[in-house]
Symmetry: C2
């Protein structure tokens, strides 16, 4: 039998177990739940070994067997993936975690982890013949999808809040996408997109309303496992808005267990959903031991990427936390901005506010003993600090030529 | 004999051939020329083969034998290097170059190729016991050195023009560096730094005034060679301000020839120095067949990184052009901004204005026949477009919640 480029098998609803054909365009399940991609892991386990990765390019397509694109010519890539996994010894010592690491998702096209979902989502959309897509966004996902769609020759319509990071407007505009701002939240943008999708039959690329963005995000989990030599860390902290990252990492680790690439007898890393105090629906649900979250009213935070008052995949995020004995933590803006400064001064890493929240959460969980001093801890920095210039105060003297210091 | 981490041998002056000890801090040669690092290539050729790279992490330290840091514990890294080499089929077809590639230096810590020079320069400074450094900058180099210096625990003083990209101020500020603006050009900033260096005995990290930044930059040449399977392209275009990138690439390719990793009987790629019409001292010198450039008065361009009216290493840039039968081309701002838009719309790549200039130059050189239709051409994009938001015009409608498209 010839090795296949992808071992994608079908789509499955995690709520009602309905099965869908992955060779056709799908959006949500009829029951309203997101759909998840399933692979023929038994066949794949027999044919694919970690050693097969050596010599492959350092991008996320090195895992193509476990990704949904079936023909390599449909891959739309800007070279995304295999981002650095960096030791953070000074910041770690400062918070009493000896083995603290940062997975730096700022070192990727478009400057945030959103590139992963866009690369895989747009590639699969191209494979399925999509010619036009639309989506609401808090900025970075829209920028990534607009640029990857341009590379794929797919028309993109993006709607984002007026308050979204300004640079993401430029990215959408330069890509040639149809860009609209809304004087409201991402939920308002979502309603506008929903209407356009219904009225004009455009493909809906909203978070979790198509099944493949999560497959891109899961490569963060695959990379962490590979970079640690298939020995997983004890704790992974993730900034959680729509929650696709944490769902993806959890899915990746379970697939690696099934493949036998990581030890099935050992516990998975405890996953931590990090939110902002000003928008913490998952934290509230987790504290109340619920399986779904409620809409978080009047949400507000400087960590704009995680200002998502109600996520479609909330039940999957909470499931990942319960399954791994993880937790959910909320950080206030002042605390996360202070942590951003510390990471830059101590480690030379200019991280985004969402990423800073994960380090602040690690500090908090070490203080209250939830994280042990000797545990191996990975904090995800989901984007480059340069996309958020307003988070840094600059107060700098201006000299005239000929003046001296 | 035990394999060494680095085969650095000594420093040599390319002007007067004087030799300097690389185990001590050095700045310029007594004759005023920059110094270049020399390696024991004969010994290295016998011990190091391309196959030895497989399994090494995808960053620039995979070439540590050919880098100046002698002890691995002195490496200061944020995971820089092995940036994507991407085919640009649509833009290539548009300009009649079938095999057009982009080496994308936006996918790197701090968002520009300056990270390479900073990583290697700061690491070597740390190895040599430097505790404090100072430098003038057009923005991006200062940002990179400030952040890497923070990671190394080295104090940094950075002076940049008021007109330098604003985001680079934030990067310096967040790193904790001493930052100063000057109401003038990089040459004015240089004078201020020069005075501080003389008065206070700080290490001078100005372009080419220390010998190791170029060693970091040369890894672009090593990566291009490795990514093409040690078969070099026909033409490499590089945006040229201080010129360290083109000097570094030329040095790398010659070292690979000496090592026997690339075919010595084949010609090296023709190197093209791309400048802005508003600041084109190298182009002027090349057109006049001179070996050095003159100060370019009243320089101005939107491609701020290449606004360098007189480069200390100009003679090395010109030498690289003459040796490889390359050329020098100047592009006006309007043309390079138009090319930036094309790259985004056709290829989904949001490139910086300096990078856009290289594509515009490729287009020009194809039009006038200097580049053949079937030649393999690499354009260097030296930074992420997101660092230059002002280069994109955004004109976007604002909707109210409940409004429809």
């Amino acid at each position: 039998m010839i090795a296949k480029y992808s071992y994608l098998s079908h789509l499955r609803c995690p709520k009602c177990d309905a099965v869908y054909n992955s060779r056709q365009r799908q959006q949500l399940c009829a029951c309203g739940s997101p759909l998840l991609a399933e692979y023929d892991l038994e066949q794949l386990a027999a044919r694919w070994k970690p050693g097969d990765l050596s010599g492959r390019a350092p991008d996320l397509w090195r895992y193509h067997e476990l990704l949904p694109v079936e023909r390599p010519e449909n891959v739309v890539t800007l070279g995304e993936g295999m981002t650095p996994l960096l030791p953070m010894p000074f910041l770690g010592a400062d918070m009493g975690i000896e083995r603290l690491f940062m997975k730096d998702e700022g070192i990727i096209p478009t400057g945030t982890f959103k590139a992963r979902g866009a690369a895989v989502g747009v590639s699969k959309a191209k494979e399925l013949g999509v010619r036009e897509l639309a989506m609401p966004t808090n900025g970075n996902a829209g920028a990534a999808w607009a640029l990857y769609a341009a590379r794929a020759g797919i028309r993109a319509t993006v709607v984002m809040p007026v308050a979204a990071p300004e640079i993401t407007r430029n990215e959408c505009a330069v890509s040639g996408a149809n860009l609209f701002l809304v004087d409201g939240l991402i939920s308002d943008a979502g309603k506008i997109v929903g209407q356009a999708v219904t009225a004009r039959g455009i493909f809906d690329a909203s978070t979790l309303k198509e099944p493949y963005r999560i497959e891109g995000k899961k490569t963060m989990g695959l990379e962490i496992a590979e970079q640690f030599g298939w020995e997983l860390p004890d704790v992974i902290l993730y900034p959680t808005g729509g929650g696709v990252g944490i769902i993806g990492i959890s899915k990746a680790l379970k697939e690696l267990q099934t493949l036998g690439w990581i030890d099935r007898s050992r516990k998975l890393p405890r996953l931590v959903a990090v939110q902002a105090k000003g928008c913490a629906p998952i934290v509230k649900a987790w504290e109340e031991k619920r399986t779904e979250s409620e809409f978080f009213p009047d949400s507000s935070t400087v960590a704009f990427g995680i200002n998502v008052p109600k996520a479609l995949g909330d039940f999957l995020v909470l499931q990942a936390l319960y399954e791994t004995e993880g937790c959910a933590v909320a950080i206030d803006d002042e605390t996360l901005l202070a942590e951003q400064g510390k990471a830059a001064r101590m480690e030379g890493a200019f991280i985004c506010p969402e990423g800073a929240a994960t380090f602040a959460a690690a500090r908090l969980l070490r203080e209250n003993g939830w994280i042990g001093a000797e545990e191996r801890v990975v904090a995800l920095n989901t984007g480059a600090g340069i996309k958020y210039p307003d988070t840094v105060r600059v107060d700098v003297p201006i000299l005239q030529p000929g003046q001296f210091l």
